[in-house]
């Protein structure tokens, strides 16, 4: 085999050589035997055929030997495969997205690239995601391949061992341009990698911050806008640090929005009512949100600085 460029290559290549050795041995041996018999026992030599019909000993031998050999091959193949499924905990995560007929690689935070750039000697886990039909993610030099199937969370991992450029193919048939669905992976120094990643513009979907997800899931944004619009409740835009008038116990007082105020507004909204809004619209969230979740929400609200 040609040079393998990942930590997994050696195992694959060793299994390959083992099977190759067995295969060549038997193929050559059996072929030679056949040719030899054809000459040795040729009818032209005019010897009568011997009429034996079999031998139990031989049958046992040539059941046992192949059985042992195939079990060895099986075991070896499995042993060298097992590491491919054990992803180290500290592996960097990249999502490979297959669509007809191109690859893109999502590094998180909206950073999406058409080629796969990786730091050398660092474990990466590729999460494989398909948006349409089956594809196959295949880097021959790394000896890794896994199908990319819609609705499946397939993955593979490896550690690139050498710097350089390697081909990435789509191995699973996916229609017209299946053969054109290839790209490259570039393995570089970790420092270069960081540089490259930082300079990569964030063009993809930036995933929601955890606080925002909570706001969405709990239903807060039904009443509170993020963009300044006035809904049932006051907007969250630029809310942190804002000074405004609230009515507490019937008296108008000016407060500055800080952590304590936010917490009390969430847990006990009836206490201070923002001027211009109605009391009793918002239910207390005392039992519905944990302290940790409220902290996340507040952290997120802090980031909503307006323009």
């Amino acid at each position: 085999m040609f040079e393998g460029a990942s930590n997994l290559a050696a195992g694959v290549d060793r299994s390959f050589i083992l099977i190759l050795a067995i295969a060549v041995f038997f193929t050559v041996g059996i072929t030679a035997f056949m040719i030899w018999t054809v000459f040795k026992y040729n009818r032209k030599k005019n010897k009568p055929a011997r009429q034996f019909t079999g031998s139990v000993t031989l049958e046992i031998i040539w059941t046992a030997i192949p059985l042992i050999l195939v079990l060895v091959i099986f075991f070896y193949g499995w042993k060298n495969y097992a590491p491919m499924r054990k992803v180290p905990a500290d592996a960097m995560q990249v999502t490979a997205i297959g669509r007809m007929w191109e690859w893109s690689f999502d590094y998180g935070n909206g950073k999406i690239s058409k080629i796969l750039v990786l730091p050398v000697d660092k474990a990466v886990k590729m999460n494989l995601h398909s948006v349409d039909v089956n594809h196959g993610f295949f880097i021959p030099a790394f000896r890794v391949k896994e199908d990319v199937i819609p609705s499946y969370n397939n993955y593979l991992w490896f550690i690139p061992k050498f710097k350089g450029e390697y081909d990435i193919f789509c191995s699973s048939y996916c229609g017209l341009q299946h053969s054109g669905m290839n790209t490259k992976t570039k393995v570089v120094d970790p420092a270069d990698f960081t540089l490259w990643l930082d300079s990569l513009p964030a063009t993809g979907n930036i995933p929601d911050a955890e606080g925002l997800t909570l706001l969405k899931n709990t239903g807060c944004i039904a009443c509170h806008s993020l963009d300044g619009a006035k809904l049932v409740g006051p907007t969250f835009q630029a809310i942190y640090g804002k000074k405004h008038i609230v009515i507490t116990d019937g008296k108008e007082i000016e407060i500055e929005v800080n952590d304590a105020y936010l917490i009390s507004s969430i847990l006990d909204p009836g206490k201070d009512i923002v001027k211009g809004f109605n009391k009793g619209m918002m239910q207390p969230y005392r039992d519905k949100l944990s302290d940790a979740q409220i902290t996340l929400i507040i952290d997120y609200l802090k980031t909503l600085t307006g323009k």
């Binding site: 694959v12 056949m34 055929a49 019909t53 391949k145």
Partner: protein
């Protein structure tokens, strides 16, 4: 009832029943005629599909687009695969040589259900017509690969439904043939022919027939489900509707892996008939070969997952499927060793059938061993879906089943037509075929290992040398096959009259006239010996002496 009483000497080729000429053939229920009907269809379709294969190889001799565009190429390998698999190799040996030789070998006048047999052939023709139509109708040739993987096959705008229906009907034709053979073997063996006095080709057909009956329905229903998905939007396999694409792969391979043994088992059976005849000695390890046929059929039913190692199935199911895959290799190994031992100590006459049989063993071995690379988990990851797989199955299907087909036709040709072909031309054709074949497929192993994926219309320049050699190989192979076809077709009319037993075979088909009469046996023979009984050594020596004295 018995026709032989009224027309004792007329061969099945000349016999005139209710209808004459072509109609006589189309309404025949004679197993030998049905065999020939199958053979003519299969040879024609082989020609068509092989030309498709050839054009693919030509296209790939250079990277980039040369003689066709990508869509055409994708259609080509799909149609090539569908025709080759469903219309040629799966029915292939069983329907042609099974039909022809099974009743002869077990001393029967016909199969158990002759009308059903003809009906299977008609189903085959209907399926075949649909498959061919799928090419020609507007919408374009199906482009899913012969494996019809969803979601692509559920969405492709080409004539996928036609191809699916065709495969479904062809499957049914196959089931009925299998059913027929099982009953034939159970009920119609000549008196005295116990199970272990039955020749080995029927044994392999028996094992095959069980797979046909028990595995084919699964692919039938699977294809129906894909049709339902396309027509009725019942999304068993569509992730958008909650379905599971990998489940399709399971169901498909539950059939299609056993199907590869449907292809190879009859081939092994043919080879097992040829070795003893040309060595003039009994098969070595008769029992072992018979049992290993059954073992292959049985275990082969449970290894389908080895086509799905990279599709995200669970770790332990990979483990188990890999393990079982290796277990099926063992009975194949037993057969190989028994074949070569059959030749050992014999009196070997090198004739074309034997040459093809020996090439079969060689090519099957390469195909089988490369199967081991694919069955081992670690190497499968690298080799799956590369041209290594393509080379593996061409070696084992074309080199195995294909060469067995060639061996079989050279072996039973005198019995079928009562004529002899030219040995000399058979050797020449063999030379081209063998060399061309290896040149065509061997390079694909190497580029496959280097990472050349399969079903690729275009490729990177580093793989060109392999494709180039393949292309040349395909041409040489073409020459060989044309020579072979010519040799066989020409001598049907012009060949020398064949004796009843040109190879000194001892199985029953050689004890009757060439070509056989309509009802095969005037009197059903009573079996006393092992099917490969050439006499005791003393008897043979005595005979030999008397022959030398007389000459």
């Amino acid at each position: 009832m018995s026709h032989s009483e009224t027309h004792p000497q007329v061969s099945y080729l000349e016999y005139q029943g209710k209808y004459k000429g072509i109609l006589g053939w189309l309404t025949t229920t004679d197993h030998k005629r049905i065999a020939l009907l199958y053979m003519y269809c299969i040879v024609v379709f082989f020609f068509v599909a092989a030309i498709l294969g050839l054009t693919m190889s030509i296209e790939k001799m250079r990277p980039g687009q040369d003689i066709m565009n990508a869509q055409t190429y994708n259609g080509l390998f799909t149609v090539h695969g569908i025709i080759m698999i469903f219309m040629i190799v799966i029915p292939g040996l069983a329907a042609v040589f099974g039909n022809f030789a099974l009743p002869l070998l077990i001393g029967a006048r016909d199969v158990a259900f002759p009308k059903l047999n003809l009906f299977s052939w008609y189903l085959y023709v209907i399926g075949a017509i649909l498959a061919v139509l799928s090419q020609l109708l507007k919408g374009g040739a199906p482009d899913t690969g012969w494996t019809f993987y969803v979601p692509y096959s559920a969405g492709s705008s080409t004539n996928v439904i036609w191809a699916l229906t065709a495969a479904f009907i062809l499957g049914f034709s196959n089931i009925l043939t299998g059913l027929n053979f099982i009953v034939t073997i159970h009920r119609m063996r000549a008196p005295g022919m116990t199970w272990f006095k039955m020749p080995l080709f029927p044994w392999s057909l028996y094992a095959t027939a069980w797979i046909q009956v028990l595995a084919t329905p699964i692919v039938g229903i699977t294809l129906l489900m894909v049709i339902a998905e396309r027509v009725l939007h019942i999304g068993f396999f569509d992730p958008a509707l909650g379905g599971d694409p990998v489940l399709f792969q399971h169901l498909f391979w539950i059939y299609s892996h056993p199907a590869v043994y449907i292809m190879i088992l009859p081939a092994m059976g043919v080879i097992t008939e040829i070795f003893p005849t040309f060595s003039q000695k009994p098969v070595f390890g008769y029992g072992a070969i018979a049992i290993s046929s059954l073992a292959i059929a049985f275990v082969g039913y449970f290894v389908w997952g080895h086509h799905m190692f990279t599709s995200g199935i669970s770790y332990w199911s990979k483990w188990f499927f890999s393990f079982l895959t290796f277990i099926v290799a063992v009975p194949s190994a037993i057969k190989v060793f028994n074949w070569i031992s059959t030749m050992y100590g014999g009196s070997i006459q090198m004739r074309p059938p034997l040459l093809y049989a020996i090439s079969f063993v060689f090519l099957f071995m390469i195909g089988g061993f490369t199967g081991l690379f694919l069955g081992a988990l670690a190497t499968n990851v690298q080799l799956h879906d590369t041209t290594f797989v393509v080379a593996h199955f061409h070696y084992i299907i074309f080199g195995g089943m294909g060469f067995a087909f060639f061996a079989a036709i050279h072996y039973w040709y005198p019995k079928m037509y009562g004529k002899m072909y030219s040995d000399r031309w058979a050797y020449i054709a063999w030379g081209f075929t063998f060399v061309g074949f290896n040149l065509l497929y061997f390079p694909q192993f190497i580029i496959g290992v280097q990472g050349m994926p399969r079903r690729y219309f275009d490729y990177l320049p580093q793989f060109q040398w392999g494709h180039m050699l393949s292309g040349f190989g395909a041409f040489i192979l073409l020459i060989g096959l044309i020579l072979m076809a010519w040799n066989l077709i020409y001598h049907v009319k012009r060949g020398a009259i064949a004796p009843a037993n040109p190879w000194k075979g001892v199985t029953l088909e050689w004890q009757i006239a060439s070509p056989p009469t309509l009802e095969n046996f005037e009197e059903i023979p009573v079996i006393k010996h092992n099917p490969y009984w050439f006499g005791t050594e003393e008897e043979i020596k005595r005979e030999k002496k008397s022959v030398t004295r007389n000459t």
